[in-house]
Symmetry: C2
Subunit: 402 residues, 2 copies
């Protein structure tokens, strides 16, 4: 079986390494050898093991009928989209780790693959090294999915874990994370929740077989979380985690990405550091959780190679993926419900009566800051929360409770 790789960056070279290093294990397991025939990159890599198979010309992969599976690890939308489309049109299967490509063109490329009896697979895109797409589509296929909830971004989980464990503030932890390579120079996509948002959109689309546009999902990052928020969370016996989640509500689905307070009974509670986890609730199987490294060169590359193997086992038929372009109906965010941990400026005596007037009965939380009044609300809609917070007028921050 012959593979072409588009892009010899971090993940692409990881795929190349795994296919070389674990060649025997893989061949034993699937009964066939997998060879990398061509690797496309604009750069040269003198002395690197990739040299003999390196090409600068996409056509050499596209036109090569011996290459049945193409790995796309270039990143970016263009020319990745055009290259992937060209490969699928020729009946080649494509396995990708590309963030933007799957979120923007998933249903179209899945449909094209289906028409050509090929596969378009992207296990690495959602959970890094966590096997989630295949279990969601096969092991959990008897179940109606009631809820998906995940710690989907290693950078932000690392930052929140460090803030809690070291009592450090966001900015200094972010700087450390950048120095350690756990956060990018421009951390926006991670810390503002955009990466988690694309992931929960994909997971929700796969769970219900219809398309969720990630633009439609309410997304809140962690940049406003302070050491005080974490002190209140500690006081309540919980941890602040940024979660992407979606839940079936009648015939609709509600979805969001936001920092939430999680209690120890929730299996996500103990997922710390750069680890990710995805909790799925089925109507028959109950809670199932998948845990692993959400990123990292070899973990991500391993997920891509598992797709290559899956595609290889299904040459001529393709691996079916349930994700059509039909739009999934989302609950308007204002109607979705939570309990909230709310902090207001000013002492308890100044705030208590107006809080009660706006929010009804609340449970006060004292974390030792006399100049603030914090409380936990009952369950209420986002719209009702906004209205009540406006009425009170002194809200500093709020965190939803999982």
């Amino acid at each position: 079986m012959n593979v072409g790789i588009l892009g010899y960056g971090t993940v692409g070279s990881g795929v190349f390494d795994i296919l070389r290093e674990n060649k025997e294990v893989i061949a034993e397991r699937i009964g066939e050898e997998i060879s990398v025939k061509r690797v496309l990159d604009l750069r040269d890599f003198p002395g690197d093991p990739v040299e003999p198979v390196l090409t600068h010309d996409f056509k050499e992969i596209e036109a090569d009928e011996d290459v049945q599976i193409v790995v796309e690890t270039m990143g970016g939308l263009h020319p990745a989209y055009e290259f992937v489309k060209a490969c699928l049109e020729r009946g080649k299967s494509v396995c990708t780790s590309n963030k933007a490509l799957v979120a923007d063109f998933g249903p179209e490329l899945i449909q094209l693959a289906k028409e050509r009896h090929a596969s378009f697979l992207f296990e690495a895109r959602v959970g890094g090294g966590i096997p989630i797409i295949r279990p969601l589509q096969s092991s959990l296929s008897p179940d109606e999915i009631l809820e998906i909830s995940g710690i989907l971004n290693g950078t932000t989980n690392y930052i929140l874990t460090e803030m809690r464990e070291k009592g450090a503030d966001f900015d200094s932890v972010l700087k450390d994370a950048q120095a350690l390579g756990y956060a990018e120079a421009d951390p926006t996509a991670d810390v503002e929740g955009h990466d988690a948002c694309r992931k929960i959109a994909i997971l929700t689309s796969l769970a219900y077989g219809k398309n969720v546009d990630f633009h439609d999902i309410y997304t809140e990052g962690i940049t406003k979380i302070t050491d005080r928020d974490i002190a209140y969370a500690n006081q309540l016996g919980g941890k602040v985690k940024i979660c992407g989640s979606s839940r079936k509500v009648g015939e609709q689905v509600s979805a969001r990405v936001a920092p939430v307070l999680i209690y120890p009974g929730n299996p996500l509670y103990s997922v710390d550091g750069v680890f990710n986890a995805i909790l799925v609730k089925g109507n028959m199987v109950g809670d199932v959780m998948f845990y692993g490294q959400g990123a990292g060169k070899l973990a991500t590359a391993s997920a891509v190679v598992s797709d290559v193997i899956e595609a290889g086992k299904n040459i001529g038929t393709g691996v079916p993926v349930q994700w059509t372009a039909e739009k999934l109906s989302l609950v308007p965010f204002g109607e979705s419900k939570s309990r909230f941990l709310v902090r207001t400026a000013g002492a308890k005596s100044e705030n208590e009566s107006k809080v009660q007037a706006a929010f009804g009965d609340v449970e006060a939380v004292d974390a030792g800051f006399a100049e603030e009044y914090a409380f936990v609300t009952g369950e209420m809609t986002e719209a009702a929360y906004e209205e009540a917070a406006r009425t009170v007028g002194t809200v500093i921050n709020k965190i939803r409770i999982s």
Copy 2:
């Protein structure tokens, strides 16, 4: 697609229920309806929805060419083995939740299925509702498996969790667990570790493609664990869990089932109550953990139905399962290495010097019991531990450290 079910007990009726209740979800997901054509049971179920399809005669399922998939949920070795074999010989696929059948006849039945281009699947057997076999065989297929470690039995995990949280002793917690239906009237298979042993034998066989005879795995239950052991574990900041584990050591594999002390850094640490989890370490993907309900009617039945769907998608070819009859070479147990938490009878002053003479440098642990001396050893083989313990002569109990 037509299914026959052998045995309308807890799991069998769960499978029947799921196939009815989630009929639409399943049909939507796989593009075909699944109907239960016949259910075999010796009993009658007047008024039960199963009545119209109930039969007392296995031949009605065996000889029916419309029944392509048979679910075996009878339990026991005979006649389950004969029935399953007869079905496979006729080219029907079989999905089972049967404890003994898979452990005793796994490789033979897999081979028979392969010859007939049918499937023999048993997802429910290992992890109850936890998807593990398919991920192990597909998602982790690029990886060399370095280690598997699991909390594989809900009954014992519940007992140990309750002992820790309530400070209760083994016997009283076991009685409560029996009253709640979490433990069987005869709890031997659970509390002596036999159930976990069969599971780690299957997982290890699947990870390496060769057969591990469960009789060859050292197995220690939890009946000797006391509240004192748990007090020492607390003192060390850990929890006692009974783990089935196997690890690659050169070309061999070491395997065991035993109570172990687990620290918070280990993702298994927070798996409590009746939940199970399986941690797999791949040489590329790193740590991956699968978490869910290890038992329970619907969770187990959901796993069986996921096998039915998988078998249904692969009619005429069969789902390949890597597990041959060739024997996997195990490290002799005496050579496998651990650190140990050891309790000796008698005060520190009586024991310290002879302990040091036998075990070398150890780390003392004080949990407030003046009439005992407890300590943690360095890494040593089981044989060396036995020898040292014999020399000291006053050992009350030992727990390995994970």
